[in-house]
Amino acid sequence: MRGAGCGVRGAMTGTVPLSAYLILSAALFAIGVIGVVIRRNALIIFMAIELMLNAVNLTFVAFSKFLGSMDGQIIVFFVMAVAAAEVALGLAIIIALYRNKESVNVDDINLLKG
């Protein structure tokens, strides 16, 4: 009885393999990249970047579990701290930009032209 249905049930009841997390993470990362490419609103590009960071965080945590190492989670902690700093600065820049340009569209921002 146990042997019979093992194939299908085993696949659904067993532990989720690392590759599932990696595929999910890759998909999230790709979505983030697409967001950065197709959007023009600086805030949304910023959000897409956060999405990419989170996709990477997911791989870190997954590796941490599957390799039996704590380093991945520690790095995620650091990524979050740095992300917080990055957001604080990034949003401050966007606010400063908006004051000068009345826009957050990246097409309007080209002052650094060489």
Binding site: A26, V37, K65, A85, E86, A88
Partner: protein, 169 residues
Amino acid sequence: MEWLLFVPLAALALGTAAFVILLRNPIYCALALVGTFFALSGLYLLLQAEFVAVVQVIIYAGAIMVLFLFVIMLLDVGHEPPPWLRRDRPRLLLGLGLVALLVLELAVAIGSWIAPGIRGPYTSDYVNAVGNTQLIGRLLFTEFLIPFEITSIILLIAIVGAMVLARRQ
């Protein structure tokens, strides 16, 4: 059991992530991103990383995204025209092509990769016995003390930088 939690969470993460980049109203995008963060937090719990899961909610959902919402509301950002109506379509297509290549490469990389199995000392039994948070705390204040301190300096600099940038002259 794990799959029963993984599949919905993964679907939620992917769906909300797609909304982030597709919705036109920035507020909706931000809310969708909060959803993604919750889904990821759930996945972290599934991976027995309770501390990271909770910190994910506190930092990303509770602080970073609130800040985003705050700025979006403060700046009154209008809706953006959909990408397919934009003038610079060649560049857009080039970008999407590159993304397709990237996805292909990622697929190849994941497909050809062989999982090495547990190597470190932190097996789930050990982590459960000592406590995830306790382990992270111990590592942060021993092995990763210098990065930890540097992080605090980075945050301090970010605070000062944000003040200087956002202040009205």
